[in-house]
């Protein structure tokens, strides 16, 4: 579904990604891990169209999308849940969720998806009229993922899912993401927490210094000593 070949990107003169090649199959749950500064967020921003890739190709459903803008990619079916949630703090939870459906005009479909999101994340229901800026971290992450789902994506990209969340909350959200994935949406998460990433994904990639240094079945990666080395240097 998503095929990335030799992708190079960065900020201004500073190149961060050096020829990234990876893929996400239709319906898959894929994960990418890597230490701080490896270029994880840069990769996702480039995939979502917030940053322009300098070279390489990004194929989505067989179509080249490297030069599409962010809003065009949303229409194609790629949605990014950004690092740090990035909700609209002065909008209510409902308004935030509805902003997720901004590109859609099928009222019925939107209504159905809103119901679906509230089923997936029941705690959001009573918070609908609350300003998003006043939610706890876990609820914010739920709202952010819910907002992403409201665009009815084919591929959901999630950046730093576990950042700043208590382990139990992470577990709960990961469970829901598996549910989302089970319903047919492809999921690609980028994580620092190796376990949260690889114990749930089918396969994964390791990013170091702007390059993919390792990839394969998630279970195998989880047991790979090299990952620990990348993190703890032992």
């Amino acid at each position: 579904m998503l095929e990335v070949h030799g992708l190079e990107a960065g900020y201004g003169d500073i190149q961060v990604l050096w020829g990234i090649t990876l893929y996400v199959d239709g319906g898959a749950f894929a994960a990418l891990v890597g230490p701080n500064g490896a270029g994880k967020s840069t990769l996702l921003k480039t995939l979502a169209g917030l940053l322009q890739g300098k070279a390489g190709s990004v194929l989505f459903d067989g179509r080249e999308i490297l030069h599409l803008s962010a809003n065009e990619r949303v229409k194609q079916g790629i949605t990014l849940v950004p690092e740090g949630r990035r909700l609209y703090p002065g909008m209510t939870v409902r308004e935030n969720l509805m902003m997720g459906a901004y590109t859609r005009s099928d009222r019925k479909g939107i209504g159905k998806d809103l119901e679906q999101v509230l089923l997936l994340f029941p705690p959001l229901l009573e918070k609908l009229p609350t300003l998003a800026g006043k939610l706890s971290g876990g609820l914010q992450q739920m709202c952010a993922i819910g907002r992403g789902l409201m665009s009815h994506p084919k591929l959901l990209l999630i950046d730093e899912l576990s950042l700043g969340l208590a382990p139990l909350v992470v577990k709960e959200i990961v469970r829901i993401i598996r549910q989302i994935n089970g319903a047919g949406t492809s999921v690609f998460i980028v994580e620092q927490d190796v376990h949260a990433a690889f114990s749930n994904a089918q396969y994964g990639f390791v990013l170091e210094g702007g390059r993919v240094t390792n990839s394969g079945k998630a279970q195998a990666l989880l047991e790979d000593e090299r990952i620990k080395k990348a993190y703890l240097g032992m």
Binding site: L50, N71, L80, P82, R86, Y102
Partner: protein
């Protein structure tokens, strides 16, 4: 008695001020651009109303929506082909650029329409009614109502419509808005065009009550500054409340200290508020 009448006059005038500042603070708040040419847009709106009224003979109040539509288009064009290219530029560039636009518009208007004052005469110009001992001219009273109406419509537009939500979203988190599929450029065009339409409405309202000339805009720019700072940039109610407060302050200071000093009071107020509370008296963190 006289004192209360003066306050009432101040309030009525404050309504017009509110509409002048409404578009200005919208553009400032959403796009982070101080539009120095806002006063020139007010002037263009005044002339549009004037020409529509004098040429076609329709009532100036009826001409207001037409004026707004014309100014909306003008604003959209200016945003698309000029301002769009400096939206991310530092203040030195945006302020200077919009000053240039102002200079261009005002001097073209001077060339086309001369510096002479013109006024719209309506048959009901002198009509008034009394509420107890207090006097209300009909035109000013209507204008005051329209100011409220426009503020209410803007409030509904910003809070209840999808486009309004996208405008607020763009203001709160640009990247998130992009990720939700908002076309930022289009949002900016709509925002600036609405700002211009509101400037046009204000200009029309001024043309109904005062003589107009191409040079009229600048003092309204200054008023926009003051009211935006007074009311803060966080809401649609800000300019209304700021405008009413400013109308009162202006009336009071002319009455108590003298007409010559009202601008000193106004500008001193502007600077003092900026220093004490730059987000304005009613300013909110979020739009």
């Amino acid at each position: 008695m006289v004192f209360i009448q003066i306050l009432l006059d101040g309030l009525l005038l404050g309504g017009v001020y509110a509409v002048i500042a409404l578009g200005f603070s919208l553009v400032w708040g959403i796009m982070n651009i101080i539009n120095i040419s806002h006063g020139a847009f007010v002037m263009l709106g005044a002339y549009a109303t004037y020409w529509i009224t004098t040429r076609s003979g329709i009532d100036p109040f009826v001409a207001l929506p037409i004026t707004m539509a014309v100014m909306f288009m003008a604003g959209a064009l200016v945003q698309r082909y000029i301002i769009n290219y400096v939206v991310r530029a530092p203040a030195s560039m945006t302020v200077t650029l919009t000053f240039g636009i102002q200079l261009l518009i005002v001097n073209l208007a001077l060339g086309a329409w001369t510096a002479n004052f013109r006024s719209i005469t309506v048959p009901y110009a002198g009509a008034r009614f009394f509420l107890g001992p207090f006097l209300f001219p009909y035109t000013r009273f209507f204008i005051f109502l329209i100011a409220f109406l426009l503020t209410a419509v803007m409030h509904l537009f910003i809070t209840r419509t999808k486009t309004g939500a996208a405008i607020r979203a763009t203001r709160m988190d640009l990247e998130s808005a992009k990720l939700n599929g908002v076309n930022i450029r289009r949002i900016y065009i709509i925002t600036f065009a609405v700002g211009a339409a509101l400037a046009g409405a204000a200009g029309g309202m001024i043309a109904i009550t005062y003589p107009i000339s191409p040079m009229m805009g600048f003092s309204y720019l200054a008023i926009s500054f003051i009211i935006s700072v007074l009311g803060g940039l966080g809401s649609m109610a800000g300019p209304l409340i700021g405008g009413l407060i400013f109308g009162l302050i202006e009336a009071l200071s002319s009455f108590l200290i003298g007409t010559g000093y009202k601008d000193i009071v106004a500008f001193t107020l502007l600077v003092v508020i900026l220093l004490i509370r730059p987000s304005g008296i009613l300013g909110r963190e979020y739009y």
